[in-house]
Structures are given as structure tokens and as C-alpha cells.
């Protein structure tokens, strides 16, 4: 059978963001592939050196649309570590609440994409409809559905009063029952299981060798979760249940992400229960003392790595961001070997691409 090379992307109905792949196929089997990044490279790290710390909070938020809050959380914790301050506990809990809501909306988005790629269009519609409930909560409390602008250096920019908390609890209750229904469907639906069981298995040794993080690593049995291993406050006071599955195939990745949505909903309810009283922000100086800091945070897709160096002025001297999708994408060409052509969408959905994060 002759080998044919098919380009997928940069614009393609399968992809939400531009990514160029060249896939070699022979008949129904995929032989391998290669990928090209850089179509949405905006030079965020270089731009951050030319703006002040306050302006950078808004620049960093626009690295990615789906995980924007955790980027600004990691950046703000980095600057606060260099300033040597600790933000009030109420601000820490509100940051964690937004992080968990973001994880819920990101996983529901992923669930819709997976269902759409398999062919279950109705689940896609229902999932994205229920995702709007999580976005409604974020819009009510922060002022934006997607660009929350919730963080500032020294705390958060809004407070929650009794009315807000009651509203959040009401919507969370509805969302919880909807998510339970959807997760039950996706875990027992025969079509979903048949399309994903046994597809593109990854062994734990490959996970370690390629540095893959997040739900993809947990779906191969590797027990890492930064919310438990290197917790940013207040996760050191919350008990996070880490979901793993030993399978390593696309079905395991589906199961891990679906169960993580349930865990995040329970965490949101616990955060609201334990919310302490107090201020939500501190005044901070504009100039940051010299120093270097490394902060790691658990984004919906895995380990987010921030390195920040300050030289005593009001602009950062070096900001380095390593997003989780970049690590997971390095495994994609290996995953593409030995599968059928019809499994390419399932593998792509399992990776949960966020190319804007990878390109920065």
C-alpha cells in the first residue's frame, strides 16, 4: 500500500486553534506524523519585559482563554513571593474558587469536544449548555465570562457578599445534578467506550520520558497532582481527591477528566463552606525587590511552570512560562503511530489541545 501524507491544519474543522500536522497513512493505518507550532506565537515573554508588573497581569491573562485565571494566579503568587507578602485568607479562597470553576468549565468544554468528535452531537450540545452555568457564576462575580480579570497583585479585585454566595450555591446545585447525569452517560455509553477503549495506550515510562503532566499522566496510573504535592494556599487546607486510572488508553483519559469534574464541584462547595472573613486585597509597592522565584500551579491541563526574575525596577527582567500543553504535544507524534485513521479525532480530543497556551 502506498504511503500518502495528509496535512491537517493549520485551519481544519477538527481543530479549534491553528496547528499544522502532517500525517502519513497507508490504507487505514496511520504510520506516523509530525507537527508544527507557532501559528499563534505572540511573543508574550518578550512583551512582558516591556510592561510593568501591574500591566502584565492583564497581558498574562490573554495567553489562553480557557485557563486564563490560573495563569494570572501563578503570576500573582510569584510577584507576591518576591515582595515577601502573604495575601489575606479570604483572597486565597476566592482565587481557589475561581480556579476550580475554571477547571469545571474547561473539562465540560473538553467533554463536549470529545463527544462531538465521536459523533454524539447531542451530548456536545448538552455539555456546552451546562457549561454556561459555570460561566454565569464567573460573570456575576467577576464581570466577564471568559476574561475574568479577577486577580491583582496583593489579592483579588472583588468580594463576595451573602447574596452572591447564595446565588453561587443555587447554581452549583443545579450544575452538580446535570454534571452527574452527563458523567454517568459518558462512562456507560457503549458507543463512547467502543470508540475509546484500547486506543493509543501510553505506558508510565513514556509519560516520564516525555515529561507529560496533568490528566493524561494520571490516566496512565502516574499519581501526580500539584494541588496535593506542591499546594499553593489554600489548597494546603483542602483535601483534594486525585483521580487516577491504570489503563493508559483514550478511555482512561476520558474517565479521569470526567471524574475530576465531580471532584472540582465538591471542592467548590467546600471552599464556600470554609470561606474565612476579612479583606480581599493588600496595597503593594510598585517596585519589586531583586530576586528570582519559581511557582508551579495545577492548570486544568497539568503542571504550569512560571519563572520570574526581578532586577529591582517596576518591570520584570525575565518571565518564563511553560504551559502543560507543550509537554503533552511532544507525545502526539508518538501516539499517532499504530492507530487507525478514524481514531485521529479521538487521540486529539484525549490530548485536550490548547495551542494558544503552547505557543504563547
Amino acid at each position: 500500500m502506498d504511503k500518502i501524507s495528509i496535512p491537517i491544519g493549520p485551519q481544519h474543522p477538527l481543530l479549534k486553534e491553528p496547528l499544522s500536522m502532517m500525517v502519513d497513512i497507508a490504507g487505514e493505518k496511520v504510520l506516523g506524523g509530525s507537527l508544527r507550532l507557532g501559528y499563534v506565537h505572540r511573543g508574550i515573554e518578550r512583551l512582558a519585559q516591556q510592561r510593568t508588573y501591574v500591566q502584565n497581569v492583564h497581558l498574562i491573562e490573554r495567553i489562553c482563554g480557557i485557563c486564563s485565571h490560573v495563569h494570572t494566579t501563578a503570576y500573582c503568587y510569584a510577584v507576591e513571593a518576591l515582595l515577601g507578602i502573604e495575601i489575606p485568607p479570604r483572597a486565597q479562597y476566592i482565587r481557589a474558587l475561581m480556579c476550580e470553576l475554571e477547571r469545571i468549565h474547561s473539562h465540560l468544554l473538553w467533554l463536549g469536544i470529545l463527544a462531538k468528535h465521536i459523533g454524539l452531537e447531542t451530548i456536545f450540545m448538552h455539555t456546552w449548555h451546562d457549561r454556561e452555568m459555570a460561566l454565569d457564576i464567573m460573570e456575576e462575580i467577576s464581570g466577564g465570562r471568559v476574561s475574568h480579570a479577577a486577580n491583582q497583585i496583593g489579592g483579588v479585585r472583588f468580594d463576595l457578599d451573602e447574596e452572591h454566595i447564595d446565588m453561587i450555591r443555587g447554581i452549583l446545585k443545579k450544575l452538580h445534578s446535570q454534571v452527574d447525569g452527563l458523567v454517568d452517560i459518558i462512562e456507560t455509553e457503549p458507543a463512547a467506550m467502543a470508540r475509546t477503549k484500547g486506543v493509543a495506550p501510553i505506558s508510565p515510562d513514556m509519560i516520564k520520558a516525555y515529561g507529560v503532566v496533568g490528566p493524561v499522566a494520571r490516566a496512565s496510573g502516574v499519581d501526580i497532582d500539584l494541588r496535593r504535592d506542591a499546594p499553593l494556599p489554600p489548597y494546603d487546607q483542602l483535601e483534594v481527591k486525585v483521580v487516577t486510572h491504570p489503563g493508559g488508553d483514550a478511555w482512561a483519559r476520558t474517565f479521569v477528566r470526567a471524574e475530576e469534574t465531580r471532584v472540582s464541584l465538591n471542592l467548590c462547595e467546600k471552599i464556600l463552606e470554609d470561606l474565612p472573613e476579612g479583606d480581599v486585597s493588600l496595597r503593594t509597592p510598585r517596585r519589586v525587590p531583586e530576586g528570582e522565584v519559581i511557582i508551579r500551579a495545577e492548570a486544568p491541563r497539568g503542571e504550569l511552570f512560571y519563572y520570574l526574575r526581578s532586577d529591582g525596577s517596576d518591570k520584570p527582567a525575565r518571565l518564563k512560562v511553560r504551559t502543560p500543553t507543550l509537554a503533552t504535544l511532544s507525545l502526539l507524534p508518538v501516539q499517532l503511530a499504530e492507530i487507525n485513521v478514524a481514531d485521529i479525532p479521538v487521540v486529539l480530543a484525549g490530548v485536550d489541545l490548547c495551542i494558544a497556551c503552547a505557543d504563547r
Binding site: K208, V213, I224, D229, G291, I294, R296, R318, R322
Partner: protein
């Protein structure tokens, strides 16, 4: 995972490779060991053997404005807690051995470091650019351009 101790790691490296380990404590949040470029591959082999689980988080490169003649390269690892290896290279002829034979996931990070800072990685077939466009002709974006005198 057992509790990480930077001194234990230094002792492991010194016993197995007889290189002297220097601890650099400038970074708030990660322990760092300063090594020379030719010691990179043996030290990484020791690291991968010493821990049950360890992965490469990132390769961070920077040029300090108060020392424009050298580049600092950090290999950031995660193994229950974070630690890094630090190397200093001259900016004009920055060369490092490639580690993709032991850690294939370092491929993307090496390509980004090569195109952004002009580092040459020996031992690889080719180091194509990762993020910059094909027609980029202005040199490594992060290296401060030398002022032309006269």
C-alpha cells in the same frame, strides 16, 4: 515519594560521578545545583536513577543585563518537589550537549532555547525552529543587540 533533600542529591552525584556540586540558593522555591556544560549528561543520568519519579519541567534560559557576556541555562525538574541544574555559557559561542536520547521530551524545549537565544545543541541531527516564523531574519530575539560604535 520520599522527602526530597538537596544535600542527598549532591552526595549521590558526587559519589557516582566525582564532580563537585555547588548549591546556588538564589531561587526562591526550587533548590539549584550549579554544574559545568560537560557534566550535564552524566549528572542527568544520576538524577534519573536516583528518583522513583522525575520529569523535566522546562529549560529556562536568560541573559542578565548586568552580565551581558554570558547566558544562564536552567534545567528544571520535578520529583515530588522542584529542583534545577544551572549552567553558565558564553553568549558568543553557546554550546550544550543535547539530552533527547535520555529525555525525549526535551526536544521542544531545546528547539525553543536554540531559536530564542542562539544556543547550539550538539548531538542532534537538526534543531528546527519551534515558534518563530520561517522568514525570521533578525537573530535571537532575547539576546541584547550590541550597540554599533562610530
Amino acid at each position: 515519594m520520599k522527602k526530597f533533600n538537596i544535600l542527598d542529591l549532591c552526595i549521590e552525584i558526587e559519589t557516582k560521578t566525582s564532580f563537585h556540586c555547588e548549591v546556588y540558593d538564589g531561587i526562591h522555591g526550587d533548590h539549584t545545583i550549579l554544574i559545568k556544560p560537560n557534566q550535564l549528561k552524566p549528572v542527568i543520568d544520576v538524577i534519573l536513577e536516583s528518583f522513583e519519579y522525575c520529569h523535566l519541567s522546562a529549560i529556562t534560559v536568560q541573559q542578565r543585563n548586568d552580565q551581558p557576556d554570558e547566558i544562564e541555562v536552567f534545567y528544571n525538574f520535578w520529583s515530588g518537589s522542584g529542583f534545577s541544574l544551572m549552567l553558565k555559557l558564553p553568549v558568543e559561542s553557546a554550546k550544550l550537549p543535547s539530552i533527547i536520547s535520555t529525555i525525549p521530551g526535551a526536544d521542544f524545549y531545546e528547539r525553543e532555547a536554540a531559536e530564542m537565544f542562539g544556543i547550539e545543541f550538539t548531538g542532534r541531527n537538526e534543531t528546527p525552529p519551534l515558534l518563530l516564523p520561517d522568514d525570521w531574519d533578525q537573530g535571537p530575539p532575547f539576546i541584547a543587540k550590541k550597540e554599533k560604535n562610530g
